[in-house]
Subunit: 296 residues, 2 copies
């Protein structure tokens, strides 16, 4: 089977890499914080000291890191994947990043005879663990077909969205839809509490009609329980919203829901919630009472 | 079987009453525009000239009309249900209305020895036709148990939310969650078009991850196809949002997503879209190009 290098073994990457190991792929892993890779090493993965070292012997390089600057460093840095990948390797960045950066990596890879895909995911930590992720892919059709069997180990829905950068654009659509859904779900929770209803009984009703959503099923219960652990980090989601805002502005689009979500998540960060999960938008609505109300 | 009076045979009421007929309940119907009741009469329902006349011989009175003023007239007017219902009758208002009005009807009914429930629904025209509605019920527990078999003919999820008015409060939670989800879904569509992606392929990805929702499944495809027919009327949804805004203000809650949704739907109305479906929020975002882009 193809030798795979996997860079980035955080909340999302660790279970995703675990599925590749389980499927039998020989795996070399690298992570900025080595301790987060330990469970994978215990399951048979090899360790590499840098993205370059991981990439050197691999036919496929999969990456999922946090910020566009990290994506740039991992791919285009002097110790990066593009400079050190083996001839003919396939590079698959599953981070959520800038469409323009995906195109830049695609071009730099092509100049070295390498194929590159942008393949960000949706489905959260839940989807990563259950291998039910939706994977949105940008890049050449041939590279997509080559990557598909590997992506299908990690996700349930694997769709080619178009040329390089298209996976990132689709992911930004995804984040826009989520941003609205989270605002709506958390305002429903605030209202349920305010009106004296039992928010859990409310969920039994509203989760079963036209308001039904992944967000209601997964994030409303967490906020209700006062569980603001990630899941998906506020600071990462805010990063995505800012990328979407820049891209939308460049297209001349006005997206007021996006602007509202950005301002609410900025408020969450101001409240000290950057490292919480996206359900912490509740705290921006419920104010300082939020944490205590949630834990009551 | 219990004789049922059914008042309000519009987009939602007609299929709901149809399910009661199919289940074998003797049905007397009334609607402000008699022509909309014609299919039910053809299926065996009897016609009544007024809500009072419909209620006179019925053991259960079910109503689903548009606006709180209509609910008030149907129940508390001189030719209304409360004044003319048979002794011991059970009154079930399935309209989305004000919690305070539901409590007022409950009290007026109780003064005449009648039971009254507020039982608004969610699931849209799709859910009404498929009998998969979520029905949120406020009122006395005994009346709820009496109504349950009838409600279960029209819906799949029937939940008692608490005393009179609680069904309406739960429905407003539902509308808040929907408002956010629709903003998010329509901004995703605007962005998908703007970035040059195929919006249908985008839906294949984002409908399968953490952005998944009833709204994406049902309203995004309609907006994408330029189909802005109701479904659920913009003017009715705007009415619900305004009730939620008044209630939230009375509770001292700040709900910026609700405020944004209200302003966007006001823009839809200003564009002439009051009689369109809620997916017409797309037009407020896409501007004057919206209709032509949708139909392109």
């Amino acid at each position: 089977m193809l030798r795979i290098a996997f860079v980035g073994t955080g909340v999302m990457g660790r279970p995703m890499a675990g599925h590749l190991l389980t499927a039998g792929y020989p795996l070399v892993v690298h992570n900025r914080s080595p301790d987060k890779a330990a469970p994978l090493l215990a399951s048979g993965a090899a360790w590499a000291e840098s993205p370059a070292a991981a990439a050197a012997g691999a036919e496929v390089v999969v990456t999922i890191v946090g910020l566009p600057e990290e994506v740039r460093e991992v791919y285009l840095g002097s110790e990066g994947v593009v400079a050190h990948a083996a001839p003919g390797a396939l590079l698959v960045d599953m981070s959520t990043s800038r469409p323009s950066l995906a195109r830049e990596i695609h071009a730099a890879a092509a100049a070295r005879g390498l194929a590159a895909l942008d393949a960000p995911v949706s489905g959260g930590d839940v989807g990563a663990r259950a291998a039910t992720l939706s994977i949105m892919v940008g890049g050449d059709a041939e590279a997509f077909e080559q990557a598909r069997p590997i992506l299908e180990v990690m996700g349930r829905t694997v769709v080619h969205q178009g040329p390089a950068g298209s996976g990132q654009h689709a992911k930004l659509c995804n984040q826009l839809a989520i941003a609205g859904a989270v605002i709506g779900a958390m305002e429903a929770l605030v209202y349920a509490r305010g009106s004296g209803l039992d928010p859990e009984t409310v969920l039994a009703s509203i989760g079963a009609g036209a308001a039904a959503s992944w967000t209601l099923d997964n994030l409303y219960p967490r906020a209700l329980a006062g569980n603001f652990a990630p899941g998906f980090f506020v600071r990462h989601f805010l990063k995505d919203l800012r990328i979407a805002r820049d891209e939308a502005a460049a297209m001349g689009l006005e997206l007021p829901g996006l602007a509202l979500a950005e301002s609410l998540y900025e408020r969450v960060v101001a409240l000290g919630g950057a490292e919480l999960g996206t359900q912490a938008l509740y705290l921006a609505l419920a104010g300082e009472d939020g944490l205590s109300a949630g834990r009551a």
